[in-house]
C-alpha cells in the first residue's frame, strides 16, 4: 500500500501561477494545479469559474499571461496544441469527434492505414491490427462496424483509446457522462479505472458531483478564476465541496424587495416535449424572481420560448391577466415582455451599427413620423437619456457598439429593452462576460426597474448574485421546477440552492 502510494504521489502535471486576463475580466488568477501519475483528478466549479480557461491553457489553445506548465518536471515552453499533444496531453470533449461514417478500425488507424505491396489499403491488416490494439486496452468491439453504430459510451471509450494510441498520459474528460445511462456510466468508469491502473492520469470535469465522488481520487475546486483548493476525495463530502464552490456565503449585493401584490406574469402548466414540463410560475409587480438550472435543464429553452424566439408548447401564459402567446419578439415587445439574451453578440447587439441605432431598434414604431420617416431628434433624445440613466460609457451616440466594452455593450442591450417600458423583463445571464463595475451597475439597473414595478425574471447560474437580487429563486432540473427558495422563508442558502441545481434534494426540506 505504501509502495503504491509512493508511486502515485509522483507529480505528472504541474501548472504554476497561471494567470490570464481578458479586458475587464480576470479569467485566471495565479492558479496552481497539479495531477499525479495514474490519478483521476476531478475539476469542479460553476460556469465561468475558470475551468475552461485553465484547460485551454493546458491544451495550448489559450496563451496564459504568466505561469508555467510542466509535465514530468519538464517545463513546456512555446505552448501550442501540438506541443501539448506531444507532451502526452489529450482532450476528450463532451461531444465526441470521430469520423462517424467510417468503421472503428479506420478511425483508429486513420492517416496510417497499412498498405499491401500494390500500395492499396490492406483491409485485413487494418482490421486485425486495430482489433489487437483495442484488446490490449481491454476494449472489445467489432472494429468493422461504423462508428455511428456505437453507443455514446463506446464512442467515448474509443476516443480515449485513440488518445492512448497516440501516447497520451494525461487525458482530459469533459462531462463524459452527460448523455449516458447508469449502465453506460459503469461501463465507462470501469474502462477508465483499467487505464488508470496502467498509469494513465485523467482530469475529470463534471457538474455531477456524485460521480466525482465515485470515480475521482482528488478534486480541485475553482471559483472566480482562482483555485479554491485541492482535496483528497476521502477527506470531504458533497456539502463541503459545494461550500467550496460557492464560497463563504459572501453576498456582494443585497437589495430591498419592491414586490407588489398584483400578479403581472403567470405561467401555468407549460410543457414542451424535450425541453420543459409542467412549468408553473408567477411574478408580481416589481418582483425579482430567479431561475437557475444546469445546461439542458430547460431554463434556456423556456427563456427563448417566453420571448417568442422558439415554440412555447402547450399550457398557458398570462401577462397582466391577458393570454400571451408570442409568435415573434415583436409581439412579445407589444405585450410588454422584453428579453435580454444570454449570447449578447449573437442575439443582443447589432455590433456594426451605432449605439443610437441599437438603443432605438425596439421602439422604431414610436419614432416614425409621416411616411415612415424616422424622427432623428426623438432617437437622439431617447439614446442620450439611456446613456445617461444607465451610465453607458461611449464617446457618443454614433459609436459602433462593436467598440464598446462588454459591460457597456450589455447596458446598450438593457437600454434597448428598457426603452420599450416592459411590464415583464426576462434577463438571461445578465452579468456574463462583464467586469465587476458593470456588474454593480447592472444590479442597480435591475433594482431601479423593479422599483418602477417591472417584474423581472433572472435566469442565471450565478447563485450568489441571485440570492442578493431575488425575492424568490426557483430551481429547474430535467425540465421541471423542482425547488423554490425565498427571502421570506429565509432559506436562500447557496449550498442548498446549488445542491438543488445539481439535482440533489434540498437539505432543508428533507
Amino acid at each position: 500500500m505504501a509502495e503504491a502510494n509512493l508511486k502515485t504521489d509522483e507529480i505528472l502535471l504541474d501548472m504554476r501561477g497561471i494567470s490570464k486576463t481578458y479586458p475587464g475580466v480576470q479569467a485566471l488568477e495565479d492558479a496552481d494545479f497539479s495531477v499525479r501519475r495514474g490519478e483521476i483528478h476531478g475539476l469542479v466549479g460553476k460556469n465561468g469559474a475558470g475551468k475552461s480557461t485553465l484547460m485551454g491553457v493546458l491544451m495550448g489553445i489559450r496563451d496564459a499571461d504568466s505561469g508555467s506548465v510542466a509535465m514530468d518536471g519538464q517545463e513546456l515552453v512555446d505552448a501550442s496544441p501540438q506541443t501539448m499533444l506531444d507532451a502526452g496531453i489529450s482532450y476528450v470533449p463532451q461531444h465526441i469527434n470521430l469520423l462517424n461514417t467510417l468503421t472503428v478500425a479506420e478511425n483508429i488507424l486513420v492517416g496510417n492505414l497499412p498498405k499491401n505491396r500494390f500500395g492499396l489499403v490492406d483491409w485485413k491488416a487494418v482490421n486485425e491490427d486495430s482489433q489487437a490494439r483495442l484488446s490490449r486496452l481491454g476494449l472489445e468491439m467489432d472494429v468493422r462496424q461504423p462508428v455511428e453504430g456505437l453507443s455514446v459510451a463506446e464512442r467515448t471509450m474509443l476516443a480515449i483509446a485513440k488518445a492512448l494510441f497516440a501516447n497520451a498520459r494525461l487525458i482530459i474528460l469533459d462531462e463524459p457522462t452527460a448523455a449516458l445511462s447508469r449502465v453506460e456510466i459503469d461501463l465507462l468508469f470501469s474502462f477508465v479505472r483499467a487505464q488508470q491502473e496502467q498509469g494513465v492520469a485523467f482530469i475529470y470535469i463534471s457538474h455531477h458531483l456524485e460521480e466525482v465522488f465515485e470515480i475521482c481520487d482528488r478534486v480541485t475546486v475553482m471559483r472566480d478564476g482562482r483555485i479554491v483548493g485541492t482535496r483528497e476525495i476521502s477527506e470531504i463530502d458533497v456539502p463541503i465541496l459545494i461550500h467550496m464552490m460557492v464560497g463563504g456565503g459572501v453576498q456582494e449585493y443585497e437589495r430591498e424587495s419592491a414586490a407588489g401584490e398584483q400578479t403581472v406574469f403567470e405561467v401555468r402548466g407549460l410543457s414542451r416535449r424535450g425541453a420543459y414540463e409542467h412549468v408553473d410560475l408567477s411574478m408580481n409587480r416589481g418582483e425579482v424572481l430567479g431561475l437557475s438550472g444546469l445546461q439542458g435543464s430547460g431554463v434556456d429553452e423556456l427563456a427563448q420560448a417566453l420571448f417568442g424566439l422558439d415554440r412555447l408548447g402547450v399550457g398557458e401564459v398570462l401577462v397582466d391577466g391577458e393570454p400571451y402567446r408570442p409568435g415573434s419578439p415583436k409581439q412579445a415587445f407589444e405585450s410588454g415582455v422584453a428579453y435580454l439574451p444570454q449570447d449578447r453578440h449573437r442575439f443582443g447587439l447589432v455590433q456594426l451599427r451605432s449605439v443610437r441605432e441599437n438603443v432605438t431598434y425596439s421602439v422604431l414604431d414610436r419614432l416614425v413620423g409621416r411616411l415612415g420617416v424616422l424622427m432623428r431628434a426623438g432617437e437622439q433624445q431617447i439614446t442620450e437619456e439611456y446613456i445617461d440613466k444607465l451610465g453607458i460609457v461611449t464617446p457618443g451616440t454614433e459609436q459602433r457598439t462593436l467598440l464598446l466594452s462588454g459591460g457597456n455593450q450589455q447596458k446598450v442591450v438593457f437600454a434597448k429593452l428598457a426603452a420599450t417600458q416592459p411590464h415583464v423583463l426576462i434577463l438571461h445571464e445578465p452579468t456574463q462576460g462583464v467586469d465587476v463595475q458593470a456588474k454593480v451597475d447592472i444590479f442597480n439597473i435591475i433594482d431601479d426597474l423593479s422599483a418602477q414595478g417591472v417584474a423581472i425574471l433572472i435566469i442565471s447560474s450565478e447563485v450568489r448574485e441571485l440570492i442578493g437580487l431575488c425575492d424568490r429563486i426557483l430551481v429547474m432540473y430535467e425540465g421541471r421546477i423542482t425547488d423554490e427558495f425565498s427571502r421570506a422563508a429565509k432559506d436562500m442558502r447557496p449550498e442548498d440552492i446549488l445542491l438543488a441545481i445539481e439535482g440533489g434534494r434540498n437539505v432543508g426540506d428533507s
Binding site: 481578458y22 479586458p23 475580466v25 479569467a27 460556469n47 465561468g48 475551468k51 475552461s52 480557461t53 484547460m55 485551454g56 470533449p93 463532451q94 461531444h95 469533459d174 462531462e175 470535469i205 457538474h207 444546469l294 445546461q295 420571448f307 424566439l309 415573434s328 419578439p329 415583436k330 412579445a332 415587445f333 428579453y339 439574451p341 449570447d343 453578440h345 449573437r346 442575439f347 443582443g348 447587439l349 447589432v350 455590433q351 456594426l352 451599427r353 441605432e357 441599437n358 431598434y361 425596439s362 422604431l364 414604431d365 416614425v368 411616411l371 415612415g372 420617416v373 424616422l374 432623428r376 464617446p395 462593436l402 467598440l403 462588454g406 455593450q409 434597448k416 456574463q432 462576460g433
Partner: protein, 352 residues
Amino acid sequence: MLGIRNRHDLLELGSRHFIWVVLVLTAVVFGSTIDKYLSVPNITNILITGSVLGVLVIGQALCLMARKLDLSAEGTVSLVAVMAAWLMLPYREQDFAQAGGLGVELDPLIVIPIILLLGAFVGFLNGFMIMKLNMNFFIVTLAMQLVLRGLALAISEGAIMPGTPAAFNWLGGGRVAGIPVSVIATIGLYLVFGFVMSRMQFGRKVYAVGANEDAARASGFSPARTVILVYTASGFLAAMAGWMLLGRLEASVPTLGVGMTLNVVAAAVIGGVSLKGGEGSIIGAFAGVLFLAMVNNALNLMNVDPLWVNAVRGLIILVALIIDAQKSRYRGRAAAPDKAKRAEANQSAALS
C-alpha cells in the same frame, strides 16, 4: 475638427470618404492626360452610360447591405426589354435576325407598369424562396437569372426587335433642357433610396438584418419581410434599368444586360458597400458608379485594346474587394478582445 480621436476614427472616416478622393484624383489624372475628357459632351456621355449601371447598383447595394446578393437582376433586364418590345411592336416575320412583336401593340403607358410589376414580382419570388423556403440566395438568384434569360431568348426567338415607340424611349433617350432624362431619373432614384436607407425605418431594418439577422429578430424586426422587400425593390429597379436601356437602344436585344452583374457588384463595393452586409451608403455606391463609368470611358477614349479592357476592369474589382476584406479584418482585430471573450463563453458553455 473631423472628430478624429484614434486610428479607428481615422479608419472610419477614411473608408467613408476614400472613394470621393479617388474619384477626384481619377478625374484630375484622366482630365489632364486625355483630350476633352472633362468636356461637357464627354461628361454627359459618362453619365448616360453610367445611368443604367447606376440604377442596377441601387438594387444590388440594398441586397448587399442585407448580406445577400442578386444575380438575377441582369436577367430581369433582358426579360423586361424583350417583353416590352414584344408587347408594343407590330407583328413582323423574322428576317435577318430582326423581328416584330406579338402584334398586340399595347400602349407604352400600359407596358411600362406591366414590366415594372414583372420585375418587382421576380424580386419578390427570389426573396420568398430565400427567406420562406430557406434556400441559398446565391443559387436561387443564379437559377432565376437563367430562367429569365431563357424566357427572353424564347420569346424573342433570339431576334432583335427594333423600333420601340418614342414615348417609351423618353426615359432612356430623351432630354429635358439638354440634360438626358436617364441621368435625371437616376439621380432622382439615388436621392430617394439614399433617403430611404438613411432616414426611414426600412433602411434601419435592412442594415440591422444584414449586420446580424438573429439580433435583428430579437429586436423585434422580421428579417423575412425585410429581405423579401429588398429583393422586390431590386427586381423593380432592374426593370427600371431594362426600360432605360431599351429606350436608349430603341431595339430589344435578347442578350441585353449579359455580364453586367460583376460590374454592378464592383461599383457597389468600390463605393464602400461591404460584401459582409450591414454597412455602406447609397451615396457611396453612387460614387462607385461614377468611378467605374469614368474608367470605362477613359479606356474607350485611350483606345485601349478591347482585349485588355476586361483585364483592367477585373483588376479594379479585385482591388476594391481587397480593400473591403481588409476593412473588416482590421475591425475584427479591434474587436478581438470581444472575440476572445466570446470564444471563452462558447468554450465554457461547451465545458459546462
